[in-house]
């Protein structure tokens, strides 16, 4: 495998609805932004192929929508393939684009993602997403994702004493960050009280603990070292990749031992049954592999910034632990101590995360990659129009994409020169 670089990116603002733009035009906007950011040095003719990510044909009301993106952005007759893996669709797409360059097949690959969730009412949208759980055993009893995540965090609260206030603190952090991100769907300067007083959707998760449905698109351009040198003045190298999976039904997960990260000991978890329904084994597996490849010994010391998949405030807290930012059970204290805030030891979701940016599924993981790229370039002020969210001297960042009840997870590590 040869080195691969992220050389440009673009985002079409995430919004409740883009009334006048379909999925093709949304992708085209992000695609053009990415090309323009290279000052016209790279043209579509230089792209060898694309990987297109979108989650749900139900939302799009169009099968084989990827073919329509490919022709709309002018990449026919080059090869393209669709990637789908629930909420992790974008992260999987990014890793697939990496493989297509690392293997030597492409010099430049375009990773393009979108989702158009505004075509149906929210309850119908929740139903479409619920169809990504077992339709014989889980969906028919009224199972849906807000309910599944509620049950997972209720167990986390039982095991570790995690509180509703700790979840709310994460929602406050991410929403206030997003106020400075022009690409975010929601710009709400929420207080702890606002979150705590928002209505229950699935106890103990409230309105502001849960991400919203969105229309949006994002594009990343990945390149070999030779192509990166030719087209980009400040590329960022992709240094670590990991991915993992878990059973579709969270009821089927084992209660066994914790797979350890380099800085953890077996004695840390002698009484913990893992993952049960309180933790994401796929996230832990992805972290182990990505840290090994990138040479990360202790993520809290070795990483400068993280964009992770906070579809729920609870899943951000649980993911702190899967990524080893703190021990299992200490996620609540990690946010209480402010470690993941913009000025904390390791800022998490400076973009505002899914909670505030929105979650147009196929675009989400690529949006994370684009904002991380800008963080590591130090170009957030240029792209956001303000420097509030630029993490100072950020050199090494982690992006994390997550599907289902933790069914697929990807972790990717990016490094500035």
């Amino acid at each position: 495998m040869r080195p691969v670089y992220l050389i440009s990116g673009g985002i079409t603002k995430f919004a409740k609805a883009h009334a006048a733009k379909d999925f093709r035009l949304m992708v085209k906007e992000a695609f053009d932004y990415a090309l323009n950011d290279l000052s016209g040095k790279l043209t579509p003719a230089d792209i060898d192929g694309s990987i297109i990510s979108y989650f749900s044909d139900h939302f799009t009301y169009q099968l084989k929508a990827g073919a329509m993106v490919q022709d709309f952005v002018g990449l026919c007759p080059k090869p393209h393939v669709r990637i789908e893996g629930g909420g992790a669709t974008g992260g999987l797409c990014f890793q697939q684009a990496w493989e297509s360059v690392a293997s030597g097949r492409y010099e430049v690959a375009a990773a393009m993602g979108f989702e158009t969730m505004s075509h149906v009412e929210t309850a119908k949208g929740n139903e479409f997403i619920a169809l990504a759980s077992d339709t014989n055993f889980d969906f028919p009893v009224g199972g849906y994702y807000n309910g599944y995540y509620a049950m997972m965090v209720v167990r986390h609260m039982h095991e570790f004493g995690t509180t509703e206030e700790q979840l709310a603190r994460i929602a406050v952090k991410n929403h206030n960050n997003a106020c400075h991100n022009p690409y975010a769907q929601e710009h709400l300067a929420l207080t702890l009280e606002d979150v705590m007083r928002s209505e229950y959707i699935a106890w103990p998760l409230k309105r502001h603990d849960i991400c919203v449905m969105s229309d949006g698109a994002a594009v990343c351009l990945l390149a070999s070292e030779k192509a990166a040198e030719k087209f980009c003045a400040n590329p960022v190298r992709i240094t670590g990749l990991g991915a993992g999976s878990d059973c579709m039904r969270f009821a089927d997960r084992p209660h066994a031992k914790v797979p350890l990260l380099p800085h953890e000991k077996e004695a840390d978890y002698k009484d913990l049954k893992y993952p049960g329904v309180h933790s994401f084994r796929a996230g832990r597996s992805a972290a182990i592999a990505a840290y090994k490849m990138a040479g990360v010994q202790n993520p809290l010391d070795d990483l400068d910034v993280i964009e992770l998949h906070d579809a729920y405030s609870s899943s951000e807290l649980q993911t702190y632990e899967d990524l080893g930012l703190c021990k299992y059970g200490e996620g609540g204290r990690f946010i209480d101590n402010g470690h993941s805030t913009l000025t904390g030891k390791l800022p998490v979701n400076p973009s505002g995360g899914l909670l505030a940016c929105g979650h147009p599924v196929g675009a989400t993981g690529l949006m994370q990659a684009v904002t991380m790229f800008w963080q590591l370039q130090g170009s957030i002020p240029k792209h956001f129009g303000n420097d509030k969210l630029q993490v100072k001297n950020a050199k090494r960042g982690l992006i994390h994409s997550h599907a289902g009840t933790g069914t697929y997870v990807t972790v990717t590590i990016l490094q500035a020169p």
Partner: protein, 159 residues
């Protein structure tokens, strides 16, 4: 004089949400011929007021939600009746739902654990207020008198 061919006029118009950008109602509906295939004995069991799990004949792993092959050793599993009583492993009350279940809110979902069984079972918990649900609480399955031939034929109540 021969007339030019023409399509018949439509009798019903189209629902228009917005004129510009033009936004219309598009309807999509489908009935599936959906079979439970190898999991059929589980659903037959519900109709006979039996809640069936599966256990691996080779490595003895016990699944509360059945599967006909073992996830760990790949062996064939055998059906067995789950204990008559379980406990709340986790739970939630849903105040919002997928469209099909909006009519049911608020409702309580429960993950049930059974003594000596390695995995859990997702179901509804009925008749317990939110303030009264506790992890570890003893609960038992109840079965609908008239089967719907779905996993909805079983739900749980306090013992």
């Amino acid at each position: 004089m021969p007339t030019e061919p023409r399509l018949p006029e439509i009798e019903r118009g189209t629902e228009v949400f917005a004129v510009d950008p033009l936004t219309v109602r598009a309807h999509f509906e489908v009935d599936y011929v959906h079979s439970y295939k190898q999991d059929t004995p589980f659903f037959h069991g519900l109709a006979k007021r039996q809640l069936l799990g599966s256990h691996c004949a080779k490595c003895h792993y016990k699944f509360a939600t059945p599967r006909v092959r073992c996830m760990y050793c790949g062996g064939e599993t055998e059906w067995f009746e789950l204990p008559a009583e379980g406990r709340v492993h986790s739970w939630t009350v849903c105040y919002f739902a997928a469209q099909e279940f909006l009519k049911d809110v608020p409702f309580t979902l429960v993950l049930v654990e059974f003594e000596g069984v390695d995995t859990l079972f997702l179901s509804r918990l009925v008749g317990v207020e939110r303030a009264d649900v506790r992890i570890g609480m003893k609960i038992k399955p109840k079965f609908r008198r008239k089967a719907t031939w779905s996993v909805r034929d079983v739900y749980f109540v306090r013992t």
